[in-house]
């Protein structure tokens, strides 16, 4: 039996009469790269926020890393990493200061931070930039740094909210290399994206339409099922019926 790290059952979030996430049910296995797709306003961010312990569900159940999203948000937060669509490091701090700060608030001690930052800088080839302010780095580098910082405390799951927005294709490819590496080391990746080529990189994907999960399978199976040659067509087929649009 595979290790289940995210489990939801009819998870729902209402804002007044508006149902942002409507009885979503899915499971994510350990080490999986799980793509979470959907048009703008489909409810991706709402679902993600509930799983991260940022917002309480209206009804339904969910566990993340084995912890309940209602009662054990503190434990969940210890076990997850998060990277938002906005580039989220401090621009006026140096690379090293950012690593030490975010590592520090996750409770890593000085010794760990030193060895980890060493490894991280090596991996990214950013030794020369360690003492530079983050704002002087090119966007692609920042994005990679942000991801490495998000998994610095070795979380069980890392949530990536449209991590590659505004990045060129080459950097995006490099970014996905990092994601694969992390997945291989056993970190589960939960990623939302707009890029359908990126959806192909995922082990499994779910497609949300109007707050509901309309499809959930491997990219290959989905293409077969909808008789499509690429994910773009699958997505278009599903999202065409959407009533909610931005």
């Amino acid at each position: 039996m595979p290790d289940i790290v995210i489990h939801t059952n009819k998870l729902t979030k209402r804002f007044g009469n508006f149902i942002a996430a409507d009885e979503i049910t899915f499971e994510v296995e350990k080490g999986e790269i799980f793509g979470f797709l959907g048009a703008n306003g489909a409810g991706k961010t709402t679902a993600m926020r509930m799983l991260c312990g940022l917002s309480a569900p209206s009804s339904g159940e969910a566990t993340v890393a084995g912890f309940d999203v209602y009662k054990q948000t503190e434990q969940i937060k210890m076990n997850i990493g998060y990277m938002s669509q906005k580039f989220s490091l401090y621009e006026d701090l140096t690379v090293l200061e950012n690593i030490y700060f975010f590592g520090g608030i996750y409770g890593l001690n000085k010794k760990d931070l030193k060895s980890k930052s060493e490894v991280l800088l090596n991996q990214l080839g950013m030794h020369h930039e360690a003492k530079k302010l983050v704002k002087t780095l090119p966007l692609g580098w920042k994005q990679k740094l942000a991801f490495s910082v998000a998994i610095l405390h070795q979380p069980k799951i890392v949530f990536l909210d449209e991590p590659t927005g505004g990045v060129d294709p080459v950097t995006r490819r490099q970014f996905w290399d990092l994601i694969y590496e992390a997945a291989e080391s056993g970190i589960t990746i939960f990623v939302t994206t707009h890029y359908m080529d990126e959806a192909e990189y995922c082990n499994r994907i779910s497609i949300m339409v109007d707050g509901k999960i309309k499809a959930l399978d491997t990219p290959a199976n989905l293409k077969k099922k909808y008789g499509a040659t690429n994910m773009d067509e699958v997505f278009f087929e599903l999202a065409r019926g959407a009533k909610r649009a931005e």
Binding site: A56, E74, I80, Y82, M83, S88, L89, F101, Y106
Partner: protein, 369 residues
């Protein structure tokens, strides 16, 4: 958790120290304000042009004129003015005030023990007119006292005007507490609001909220640096006022700092509240400026006397925290009073602080849900 808090606060200081604009506002502002208010925006009037029409030409009138001449407030204008038509001189802007000494001045004073003088002032600028007539009256009063020494008639009742706490009528006295309120309001409210909203804008706030670091600690570590920096500002202002403006702190320094800390906390909670309600740095800045600076200037009583306002505005002024802080600082710094004299104001400020802190914490939590 303590270690994390320390790491966070150190990061906040790094933000402040690396932003030259923030530093400029933070430390330049109090200095500039003190100097501007101290030297440029004084409501004292010096060397005002006065015209003296002496119809008496006697010993006493000459003595009085010399006295006016000697004062640094007035400059007696003699050339280029028309002696026959006083109003012409006012219209031409040549004089601000005129003193007319009647021909029987000496006689009346000697025989009737009472003499009349006429003061005419240009009241198109009522504040200046008021100030000038006051100066002039006190010079005349002074003169009267001197004359009375030589008279043999006892029991003469002389009205006496004393300027309490500020006998030289120095303008600086009431503005230092005002500038303190203003600077603290600006630094605490605006800086805190901006620094929190900035984290929201750049997306780092989300990362922090997803981390195990408690939201309340995020707030605490955001405000502590500004609390410290504001206390540094209080020191700067006090040093400037003592050594540059020669205005000593008459009361307890410790009490002054304790009350300032209370006021700073009030401002910080306003800053947090603004940051919760806004999403961009510009909005936060505008609201802080308009919503906080203006009421402080208008309603704290340091620029415009509250007693002269219409009743509704007087009532409104009571909910402005700076008003109470201003009264407290004035009492401690200038009147040298102790806690027993200001406990009421302190209590009011304390309640305002509690309410504001409660509101901002609550709205911060709602935001998270």
């Amino acid at each position: 958790m303590k270690k994390q808090l320390f790491i966070f606060i150190r990061k906040e200081f790094a933000h402040v120290m690396r932003d030259s604009k923030t530093l400029l506002v933070l430390f330049g502002l109090p200095i500039v304000q003190i100097l501007i208010f101290g030297f440029a925006l004084t409501n004292e009037v010096k060397n005002a042009k006065i015209m003296v029409v002496d119809r008496a030409h006697d010993v006493y009138s000459q003595q009085l004129i010399r006295k006016i001449e000697a004062s640094r407030y007035f400059e007696i204008k003699t050339d280029g003015i028309s002696n026959s038509n006083i109003e012409e001189n006012f219209k031409a802007g040549a004089i601000k005030v005129a003193l007319i000494i009647p021909s029987n001045f000496n006689q009346n004073l000697l025989h009737e023990n009472a003499a009349e003088l006429r003061i005419v002032a240009d009241a198109s600028d009522p504040n200046t007119a008021n100030t000038l007539t006051n100066y002039l009256s006190s010079i005349i009063m002074d003169f009267q006292n001197e004359v009375n020494i030589h008279t043999t008639l006892p029991y003469k009742i002389i009205p006496e005007i004393r300027m309490l706490y500020n006998p030289q009528l120095k303008g600086v006295h009431n503005f230092v507490p005002g500038v303190m309120a203003l600077v603290l309001m600006l630094v605490c409210v605006m800086m805190t609001a901006i620094s929190i909203v900035k984290e929201k804008e750049t997306g780092t706030m989300e990362i922090l909220l997803v981390s195990p670091f408690k939201p309340i600690l995020v707030l605490i570590s955001k405000v502590i640096p500004y609390l410290i920096l504001s206390l540094v500002n209080v020191c700067t202002i006090l040093l400037l006022s003592v050594f540059v403006l020669n205005l000593p702190v008459n009361g307890s320094l410790l009490l002054l700092f304790a009350e300032s800390t209370l006021f700073i906390i009030t401002c910080l909670s306003i800053g947090v509240f603004i940051s919760v309600k806004t999403d961009s740095q510009q909005t936060a800045m505008l609201i802080s400026m308009m919503g906080m600076m203006l009421p402080t200037i208008l309603f704290s009583g340091f620029m415009f006397p509250i007693e002269n306002m219409p009743l509704p505005l007087q009532i409104v002024s009571n909910i402005i925290p700076s008003k109470w802080y201003y009264v407290i600082v004035k009492s401690i710094m200038i009147k040298g009073l102790g806690f027993s004299a200001i406990w009421k104001e302190t209590l009011i400020l304390f309640f305002i602080t509690i309410i504001l802190t409660g509101i901002s914490l609550k709205s911060f939590k709602i935001r998270l849900a």
